[in-house]
């Protein structure tokens, strides 16, 4: 016999590092949103126990299984090659600027960094940390870039709202200077 809890855990397990949406979980397990919520809480509780190696990573509308932080050293001993994405300082800064100003064009990123970013933007696109989302309605119709779910996952946050707060006064200056225009960012 397997319980509902085991069913839930099995689906999250199977989806691996892709993660699974709450919608899929509801429909596959034939649960209402509130029933799923209750079961998810139960799962979180069971993972708290010291005999469980797991924790849940939640981002956007997805959930994924991962091993607990305390097991990092042991697991790194097993995984000889570290295949995790390593970001250079340049990539990190570019990503930060895109995250806080999305959607943003490459030239607008260049303006803030004071240097050409096209190579870095290409690399971030290949790593699926950013994606294009339409074109800006200005002459030349430059591409607009936004961050992806992979971005949220990399930094362990559920949504962009969880990004560290930035000094608003400075951001305001920036908007006055016309360096960047943001549509959905205050």
């Amino acid at each position: 016999m397997v319980s509902k809890l085991a069913q839930l855990e099995s689906l999250i397990y199977i989806s691996g590092e892709d993660g699974i949406t709450y919608d899929s979980l509801s429909s596959l397990m034939e649960l209402s949103t509130s029933e799923l919520d209750a079961l998810m809480n139960q799962l979180r509780d069971s993972f708290q126990e010291e005999d469980s190696p797991f924790t849940l990573m939640e981002y956007s509308d997805k959930v994924q299984l991962a091993t607990k932080e305390e097991l990092n050293d042991l697991i790194k001993g097993y995984l000889q090659s570290d295949e995790s994405i390593s970001l250079t300082q340049t990539a990190l800064e570019t990503l930060t600027i895109i995250a806080y100003n999305q959607p943003i064009t490459r030239v607008e990123v260049d303006d803030i960094r004071g240097v050409n970013s096209s190579k870095t933007v290409q690399r971030l696109l290949r790593q699926s940390l950013i994606a294009t989302s339409g074109y800006k309605k200005v002459p030349g119709h430059p591409k607009l870039y936004t961050t992806t779910d992979n971005f949220l996952k990399l930094f362990g946050i559920k949504s962009l709202n969880e990004l560290p707060k930035i000094d608003n006064e400075i951001l305001l200056q920036e908007e006055e200077n016309g360096g960047t225009t943001t549509e959905d960012n205050g």
Partner: protein
């Protein structure tokens, strides 16, 4: 020239370690313990140009943006040197020529700080480990395929995506260019022109064949010459004229 700051500190830092001219400037400002709101433009410009020159002497490729910043600094410096009309001296409308650069530096610095926080978040997240999704066997996939989920169109689409990516990765317009001219060479060029004529019109230093590098570097050299009080610049009508300053005892 007396070493007013310890060059070796900076020369140990390769220009590639800087994320662009703004970071280099922030580094110099911090090192000189200057207030970012009250940058000593002359001092920082000298340090900046010296650093670029040292890097250039080491045959390091320097991105064009670094030179654009150099000319920007020179321009701010020259604006600061312009005599301010006493009447508007106390006017609130007075705009500090440094303002725009300070804003740019502050904004850049802010993102730089936040990116450090993000780095820590990334490091924390990287301690969690997940595995690949569990895969159906190929037999199962073939079984599932009654809805033609895996039509050959998928291959065509994948191929198109590959081609798109290859195209978008094609070399973009080179941002790293070898600077063909040096401030020193162009100073010699300007002084040479001034040794043949008493007064030279600014525009005549350039002709149609002069490229941007030539113009920018010549302009930089001119600012240096003015600073060193070897050349003075005057304006007649709309035109700028250069004249050699003859010091006592010379010629």
């Amino acid at each position: 020239m007396e070493p007013e700051f310890n060059n070796s500190n900076n020369i140990n830092i390769h220009i590639d370690d800087f994320d662009g001219p703004l970071e280099l400037l922030l580094h110099l400002i911090k090192q000189s313990e200057m207030d970012i709101y009250d940058i000593q433009i002359e001092k920082i410009t000298r340090q900046y140009v010296e650093y670029l020159t040292e890097m250039k002497n080491l045959n390091v490729n320097i991105a064009g943006e670094y030179f654009v910043m150099a000319s920007n600094l020179m321009a701010i410096k020259s604006k600061l040197l312009l005599p301010r009309n006493d009447e508007i001296n106390e006017d609130d409308d007075y705009e500090d020529p440094r303002d725009e650069l300070v804003n740019q530096l502050l904004i850049y610095q802010e993102y730089k700080e936040v990116s450090k926080v993000l780095k820590k978040m990334e490091t924390k997240t990287s301690q969690y480990h997940s595995v690949d999704p569990v895969l159906p066997s190929v037999d199962e996939m073939i079984d599932f395929n009654d809805n033609e989920k895996f039509s050959i169109d998928l291959i065509q689409q994948a191929f198109d995506r590959i081609i798109d990516k290859i195209k978008s990765n094609e070399p973009y317009v080179h941002s790293v260019i070898e600077w063909e001219y040096t401030v020193k060479e162009q100073s010699t060029y300007v002084m040479d022109r001034l040794s043949k004529q008493k007064s030279v019109e600014f525009d005549s230093l350039f002709d149609k064949t002069s490229n941007v590098e030539f113009v920018v570097t010549t302009f930089l050299s001119l600012l240096e010459l003015v600073k060193e009080q070897k050349v003075k610049v005057g304006q007649v009508d709309d035109k700028l004229y250069l004249e050699k300053i003859v010091k006592q005892g010379e010629e």
